[in-house]
Amino acid sequence: MMNKRIYMDYSATTPMREEVLEEMMEFMKTEYGNPSSIHSFGRESKNAVDTARDRIAKTMNAKGKEIYFTGGGSESDNWAIKGYAFANKNKGNHIITTKIEHHAVLHTVEYLVKNHGFTATYLDVNAEGLIDLEDLKKAITDETILITIMYANNEIGTIQPIKEIGAIAKENKVAFHTDGVQIYGSGKIDVDELNIDMMSMSAHKLHGPKGIGALYIRPGIRLDNLIHGGAQERKKRAGTENVPGIVGFGKAAELAYEDLEERIEEKIRLRDKMIDGILDNIPYTLLNGHRTHRLPNNTNISFRFIEGESLLLSLDMVGIAASSGSACTSGSLDPSHVLLSLGLTHEVAHGSLRLTIGAYTTEEEVDYVLEQLPPIVERLRQMSPLYEEIQGGN
């Protein structure tokens, strides 16, 4: 039997780096104090929290006091959007976003529209997943208070023209939030240069712990709290601080940005090998997302005539962990809204496969995937009535 375990799902979550766990251990074992406490147990936790805040701030040219810890990327998205909308509803009720946002943004905007009197524009994307800046400009009205556009897409890896979006937002005096969950830790970010007012992050995407995230908030940007209560996080996000999580996040951020350039290069090399290896060797395939404005770790390919979940199961049986935009993996009926927004038919969207690599991915693993994939695809196609039709037509 197969006992290889090849992880190709780094965009879903990542293993913690050893150094990260190591730094966390102290705070899970001995330094358990509450940072808000006055006694020495608490004081050491407080220092550790401040250090982590500074480490993260440094990676994006921000200040420690502009970083607020949250319980994860979804909370950050919810807070930025609901918090800003509620705090600024006297200025207007219109929000601009895109059709390919993560559900943490999309469902949040939909909720505000459905239940709290806001309106929204959902920008289209082109076949590569890029928005049109002209569309954005046209969408802005006197009522527009917030633009929320993701930095890089979690499914197809497409990276938006964030700097241009930031400039448009600034020019129009509209706040700009970006979901940076996928890019943070894998891309160079300068919040000033990019005119980002708020940015969501999630530690477990960059070899940090799960259940901890952050929101960058530019000074002057006012938002209602999402979680009211104690005075933690300068009164903006209540709840006893998850000190080990925060410490781990800080360490992970520091490590991610230590040797960023090299790691980006290496990932792009492996990613391109994966993409070309599949497109060149398996017929009826197509790359989803932009060929170059793309996360360094993302391969997303549609295999026509087969369905994603059965592909995933087959890969899992040979030890490869991947993901798919197939509806069947989410328990819903429709395939990924992102893939449909690219203009894919339902059938093609159902047959998508996402392979995302990470810090521990080796060339051998990529080779192994390239070796295993063709017979699996062929076997599933042989079972498919859609393939039969095509073959019959030849």
Partner: protein, 142 residues
């Protein structure tokens, strides 16, 4: 997520393929929903299903449901096959996750659809098929 029986039928599906001179062919589901099942039946003069093959575009449980359904009806009479319910399919698979129950429904409908085809070609009438609309089954099986 899936039982061992499901995984077994997904990994080694029984009766995959086509029958060139089938007596009844049924296809249900559509690519929109991500599942298409096609079944081919050979039926003899005693209304016994002597051979059955399937092709399926769909998730693991769709493939497993097709496989087990074909096993359940092979060698059975048409009447018996018409009594194979989606519940029976789920049961034989040792259970399906609730979001996947529709796959078993699809298998039941594929059987009905293939027999419907056979019935119309051979001028047969089965009470079990009353109210069954193969076009609807192709459109939406949910």
């Amino acid at each position: 997520m899936y039982t061992e029986i499901v995984m077994d039928h997904f990994t080694n599906p029984r009766n995959v393929g086509e029958i060139k001179d089938a007596d009844g062919i049924g296809q249900v589901g559509n690519p929109k929903c991500g599942d298409i099942m096609k079944m081919y039946f050979k039926i003899d003069e005693n209304e016994v299903i002597t051979d059955v093959k399937f092709k399926t575009f769909g998730c693991g449980s769709a493939i497993a449901s097709s496989s087990i359904a074909t096993e359940l009806i092979k060698g059975k009479t048409v009447k018996e096959a018409l009594n194979v319910s989606n519940k029976k399919v789920v049961e034989e698979l040792g259970g399906l996750p609730s979001v996947k129950i529709h796959c078993s429904v699809l298998a039941e409908q594929a059987i009905k659809s293939a027999i419907y085809d056979y019935a119309s070609k051979h001028n047969k009438h089965y009470v079990e098929l009353e109210g069954f609309d193969p076009a609807a089954a192709e459109e939406d099986h949910h």
